[in-house]
C-alpha cells in the first residue's frame, strides 16, 4: 500500500518526499549554521544585568552612530562610483573601454585591509605624501575611503551585468523620441538597473558592517573593532557577546531593509536576446570620464600593488622572499581549499532538498543556512571561542574548529552556487537513469553531479577566495603556530614591519587576481558570483 502510494507520487512527478538520509544531512547542516548565533544568545542571556548595561552606555550609542554613519557613507559612495563606472563602460564611447571594464573589477582581488595599508603608507599620519598633500587619511575618512574602494566593484559588476542584459530597445526608443542622453539615463536606464544597484549596495553595506581589518588599521571604533577590543581587554567577556548580538541586529535590519526595497521594485521581463546599445557620445566630457576611471582604478588597484612592490624593493636583504612566507602560504592554500570543498559538500544536501522538494520546511532550512549572512566573522569567532573553550576542549584551538567556522561563515556563498547549479539540471534526466536501472546514488553521481559540477566548483572557488582573505575568525580561532597569509600581514603590520607584510599581501593579491579576472571575462556568471562573494 505504502509502496503503491509512493510509486503513484513518483509517477505524478510532483514533489517526491526527500530521502531520510538527505533530510538528516540538511538538518544537521542548518543546525551547525545556527549554532554560533544560538550560543551567542545563551552566553549573552547568562550575563545578567551587568553585562547588558553595556547596551545603555553613552559610549555604545556613539559607537553605534559611528558604525551606521560609516555604513551609510560607504554604501552611498560605492553605489555612485560603481554605478557610474558601469554606465561609462557599458553605455558610452569611453576611450579604452575594454581595459576599464576589467580594471574596474580587479580591485576585488585586493583585500580591503591591504587597500587600507596602502592608503596609510601614502597619505596616513606621517605617510610618504601626507605633508605635501597636507592631508591625513585615517579614522573615519580613511576607513570610509578604503572600504569604498574595496566595495564599489560589487555595485559595478552587478550593474554592468544588468546593463548588458537590459533590452536595448527601450533606451533606443527613448532616444529616438528625442530625449536627451541625461533624460534617457534618468528615466529609462536607471529604473532598469535599479534592482542590480540595490543588490550591489546591499553587499557594500554588509561588507562595511562586518569589516574588521580596515577599521582596526584606521583606528576607528566601530562595533566590530569595539567587540574585538572588549574581548581582548576585559576579564568578563560577556559584554563582548552582548555587543556581538547588537551587530547581528544591525545586520538583520540591513537585510530586511533591502528585502523590502526589492519587494517594491517591479520585476522586469528579461529580453529575449541582448545586443549592444549604440554608445552615448561623451563629447567634451571624455577627458573627465577617463580621469575619473583612472583615479578610481589608481587608488583601488595601482596604489596598493605599487606600495607592496615598493616595500619589497626597499627591504635590504631580500626580506621579501625568504622562507618565512612558505608556511603561511601553504597554510592559507590548505585551509582555503578544504574550506571551499567542505562548504560545497555541506551546501549540497540543503540545496538538493530545497530544489527537489520545495516545501515550507525545506525553505526554512535553507533560510536558516543563509543565516550566517547576518553573522560578521568577529561574531562567529567569538561564539565559537566561547563554546569550544568551555564545552569542547578536544577541538578547541584545532584546525577542525577553524574550518568549521569558515564553512559556517561562507556557507551562503556555496549554497547560492549549489542552488543555481542544481536548479539548472533537469530532474527528468536523473529519473531516466533510474528507470534504466541505476540506484538513486549512482544515478545522482552519474547524471546530476557532472552537470552541476561547474556551478558547484564556482561556489567552492568563491569560498576559497573568501577564506584566503579572512582575518578576524582566523586570528581568534587558529591553533598555536598556524599562520595564514592574512594573519602574517596582520601580525607584521601590528608591529609596523611593513617590509615583512608586503610579500604575504602581494601573494594574496596574486592568488585572487586570476579568479576575479575569470569572473569578469565569463560575463554571465559575474552576477551570481559577485552576489555570492559579497557575503564575504
Amino acid at each position: 500500500m505504502t509502496a503503491l502510494r509512493s510509486r503513484r507520487r513518483e509517477r505524478r512527478g510532483s514533489r517526491p518526499l526527500p530521502s531520510f538520509g538527505l533530510t538528516v544531512a540538511a538538518v544537521l547542516v542548518a543546525a551547525a549554521a545556527a549554532l554560533p548565533l544560538v550560543y551567542l544568545f545563551v552566553r549573552a542571556a547568562s550575563g545578567g544585568a551587568a553585562a547588558w548595561s553595556v547596551v545603555l552606555r553613552p559610549q555604545t550609542a556613539e559607537v553605534l552612530t559611528r558604525t551606521v554613519a560609516l555604513v551609510v557613507v560607504v554604501t552611498a559612495a560605492a553605489t555612485v562610483i560603481g554605478g557610474a563606472l558601469a554606465w561609462l563602460t557599458e553605455r558610452t564611447d569611453l576611450p579604452l573601454r575594454r581595459v576599464w571594464t576589467v580594471a574596474a573589477a580587479l580591485p576585488l582581488a585586493v583585500p580591503s585591509y591591504v587597500a587600507a595599508l596602502a592608503l596609510l603608507a601614502t597619505a596616513g599620519p606621517g605617510g610618504a605624501l601626507s605633508s605635501s598633500l597636507s592631508l591625513e587619511v585615517t579614522g573615519f575618512t580613511g576607513a570610509a575611503l578604503a572600504l569604498t574602494l574595496s566595495t564599489y566593484p560589487y555595485v559595478y559588476l552587478l550593474t554592468a551585468a544588468a546593463l548588458r542584459r537590459a533590452d536595448p530597445a527601450l533606451e533606443e526608443a527613448a532616444r529616438g523620441l528625442g530625449r536627451s542622453p541625461s533624460a534617457v539615463l534618468r528615466e529609462v536606464t536607471l529604473p532598469l538597473v535599479r534592482p542590480a544597484i540595490g543588490a550591489g549596495a546591499l553587499l557594500a553595506a554588509l561588507y562595511s558592517l562586518s569589516d574588521f581589518g580596515v577599521v582596526s588599521l584606521m583606528r576607528l571604533d566601530v562595533l566590530t573593532r569595539v567587540i574585538f577590543q572588549q574581548y581582548r581587554t576585559l576579564f568578563d567577556r560577556t559584554p563582548a557577546a552582548v555587543l556581538g548580538l547588537l551587530l547581528v541586529v544591525l545586520t538583520v535590519i540591513v537585510l530586511i531593509g533591502e528585502a523590502r526595497a526589492r519587494g517594491r521594485a517591479a520585476p522586469r521581463a528579461a529580453p529575449t536576446a541582448s545586443r549592444p546599445v549604440g554608445p552615448v557620445a561623451l563629447g567634451r566630457w571624455r577627458a573627465a570620464a577617463v580621469a575619473f576611471c583612472a583615479l578610481v582604478v589608481g587608488l583601488a588597484l595601482v596604489l596598493p600593488v605599487g606600495v607592496l612592490i615598493y616595500w619589497i624593493a626597499r627591504a635590504e636583504t631580500g626580506v621579501g622572499l625568504d622562507a618565512g612566507i612558505v608556511a603561511p602560504a601553504l597554510g592559507s592554500l590548505g585551509v582555503s581549499l578544504v574550506a571551499g570543498f567542505a562548504a560545497v559538500l555541506a551546501a549540497l544536501p540543503v540545496a538538493l532538498l530545497v530544489v527537489r522538494s520545495p516545501r515550507p520546511w525545506t525553505r526554512a532550512l535553507e533560510r536558516l543556512s543563509y543565516g550566517a549572512n547576518a553573522l560578521p566573522g568577529v561574531v562567529v569567532a567569538l561564539a565559537l571561542v566561547f563554546f569550544a573553550a568551555r564545552y569542547l576542549g578536544a577541538v578547541y584551538q584545532t584546525l577542525a574548529l577553524l574550518l568549521f567556522a569558515y564553512v559556517v561563515r561562507f556557507l551562503p556563498q556555496a549554497l547560492s552556487g549549489a542552488r543555481t547549479a542544481l536548479a539548472g539540471v533537469n530532474p527528468r534526466l536523473e529519473e531516466a537513469a533510474r528507470a534504466l536501472g541505476r540506484g538513486p546514488r549512482s544515478a545522482f553521481a552519474a547524471v546530476t553531479m557532472p552537470l552541476a559540477a561547474p556551478g558547484l566548483l564556482a561556489g567552492a572557488t568563491i569560498v576559497f577566495l573568501s577564506t584566503m582573505k579572512e582575518l578576524p575568525m582566523t586570528l581568534l580561532l587558529r591553533p598555536i603556530g598556524f599562520e595564514t597569509l592574512a594573519t602574517e600581514v596582520w601580525s607584521a603590520t601590528s608591529v609596523s614591519a611593513y617590509s615583512r607584510a608586503a610579500p604575504a599581501a602581494l601573494l594574496l593579491v596574486a592568488v585572487s587576481a586570476p579568479i576575479v579576472l575569470r569572473m569578469v571575462v565569463r560575463r554571465d556568471g559575474a552576477r551570481a558570483e559577485a552576489e555570492a562573494l559579497g557575503a564575504g
Binding site: 576579564f235 567577556r237 590548505g334 581549499l337 553521481a445 603556530g481
Partner: protein, 338 residues
C-alpha cells in the same frame, strides 16, 4: 567519479592532511618533549629566547602570542580546558590576576629565592624574570629634556593637547594605572585618566606602534616601557626618539617585571621557568632586549640608567594583580577604551 575529479579530491585531502599535521601542534599537553607557552611578550623580542630554550633542552615549545591581559582573560575563559602550561607575561598585574583566579601552581622555593622579594609574588605563584621601567618617550626633533615635566600628572595640562600617544589596552599601561590607584587613590586616578582623554591623545594598539607614531611625527610623547626604543633603534639608528625618566616615586616611573607563572606542574614547565632565571636567560634580557636582569651577577647594559636609580612608587608588584579587572573598568570609564 571521473578520474580527474578523483585526482583533484586526493590532492585536496593530502593537502588537508599536510596542513593538519603541521598546524595541529596545540594539543601537546601530555607529550614529554613539548611545552605550550602563552606569551604576552612579542615574538620580535622573545622569539629567539624560545629557540635557545629548545636548543638547550630538546623540549619543543608551542607559543601562542598575544597581549598579556588578553591571554590572562583567555586562560580564565578556558578554565580547565586551557592548553597553556606556562604563562609568560609582559607585566606582573596579568600574572597576579591569573594567580588570584586560582590558575597558577606554586613555584619551587629555590627558584623564587633567586629574585629580590620586590619582584615576585608574596605567595610564591609567579616570579619576575626581567625588569622594566615606565618612561615617557619623546620626539627629539620637537622637544628638549628640559621641556618635559618630571611627573606623569603634568600631562593633563592643555599644552599637551593632541601631542600624547599610548596603548590603553596594553598590560604595562594597565599596571601603571593600577600603581597610580594604589599610590593616589581611585578618584585622582580617574581624574588623571579623564584629563588625558580631554587632551585628545592618539590611542594605539601597542608600545611599538606608540614609538612609531612619535617617529613619524603623529605625536610628540608616548607612555611606554623603556626597552622598545632599543628594539627599534637596532634597525634604525637615527630614530628621533629618546626615553625620559620621571621623578622617583612618581607612578609614571613604575618599575614592573615580566614574569612567569606555571599552569601545569610538568617538569618541562619548571624547566622553562628555571631557564629564564639561569645566567643564559638573564643575559638574553640584559643584552638582547635591553631589560634589567633580576638575578645577582648579571648586569644590565651600560646605556640604561641602573635599576637602583630608577625608583618607582612605593608598592609591591603583588598588589597589581587584584587591581587589574577594576583598573580595566576605570580606563574604560574614562573613555580611553570603548
Amino acid at each position: 567519479m571521473s578520474p580527474r575529479l578523483a585526482v583533484l579530491f586526493l590532492a585536496l585531502v593530502s593537502v588537508a592532511l599536510a596542513v593538519g599535521c603541521g598546524g595541529g601542534a596545540g594539543a601537546g599537553d601530555d607529550d614529554p618533549q613539548r611545552l605550550t607557552v602563552y606569551s604576552g611578550r612579542a615574538e620580535e623580542l622573545v622569539g629567539p629566547l624560545y629557540e635557545r630554550f629548545e636548543r638547550a633542552t630538546g623540549i619543543q615549545v608551542d607559543v601562542r602570542y598575544g597581549d598579556s591581559a588578553e591571554l590572562a582573560a583567555t586562560i580564565a575563559e578556558e578554565g580547565p580546558n586551557s592548553p597553556a602550561e606556562v604563562f609568560f607575561s609582559q607585566d606582573a598585574g596579568a600574572l597576579g590576576a591569573v594567580a588570584s583566579a586560582g590558575g597558577l601552581q606554586p613555584l619551587p622555593p629555590d627558584l623564587l629565592e633567586r629574585v629580590d622579594p620586590r619582584f615576585r609574588d608574596p605567595e610564591g605563584r609567579w616570579v619576575g624574570v626581567s625588569g622594566r621601567a615606565r618612561v615617557v618617550a619623546y620626539d627629539t626633533r620637537k622637544l628638549k629634556p628640559a621641556q618635559l615635566p618630571d611627573s606623569i600628572f603634568a600631562f593633563t595640562d592643555r599644552r599637551w593637547r593632541e601631542r600624547i600617544g599610548f596603548a590603553p589596552t596594553n598590560a604595562s599601561f594597565q599596571a601603571f594605572v593600577s600603581a597610580m590607584r594604589i599610590t593616589v587613590g581611585d578618584a585622582r586616578t580617574l581624574a588623571w585618566l579623564k584629563g588625558i582623554k580631554a587632551n585628545d591623545p592618539v590611542l594605539l594598539d601597542n608600545n611599538i606602534q606608540t614609538l612609531e607614531a612619535i617617529a613619524r611625527g603623529e605625536v610628540e610623547v608616548g607612555f611606554v616601557n623603556h626597552y622598545y626604543l632599543y628594539e627599534l633603534r637596532a634597525e634604525r639608528p637615527d630614530l628621533p626618539v629618546e626615553n625620559h625618566y620621571l621623578r622617583a616615586k612618581d607612578p609614571g616611573s613604575l618599575v614592573n617585571v615580566s614574569g612567569v607563572g606555571l599552569l601545569s606542574d610538568s617538569p618541562e614547565a619548571k624547566r622553562f621557568a628555571q631557564f629564564l632565571l639561569d645566567v643564559e636567560g638573564q643575559r638574553y634580557f640584559a643584552t638582547d632586549t635591553e631589560e634589567y636582569p633580576l638575578i645577582r651577577g648579571v648586569r644590565s647594559d651600560e646605556k640604561l640608567r641602573p635599576l637602583d636609580e630608577v625608583q618607582g612608587p612605593e608598592l609591591t608588584l603583588g598588589e597589581l594583580g587584584a587591581k587589574l579587572p577594576s583598573t580595566v573598568e576605570l580606563i574604560r570609564e574614562a573613555g580611553l577604551t570603548p
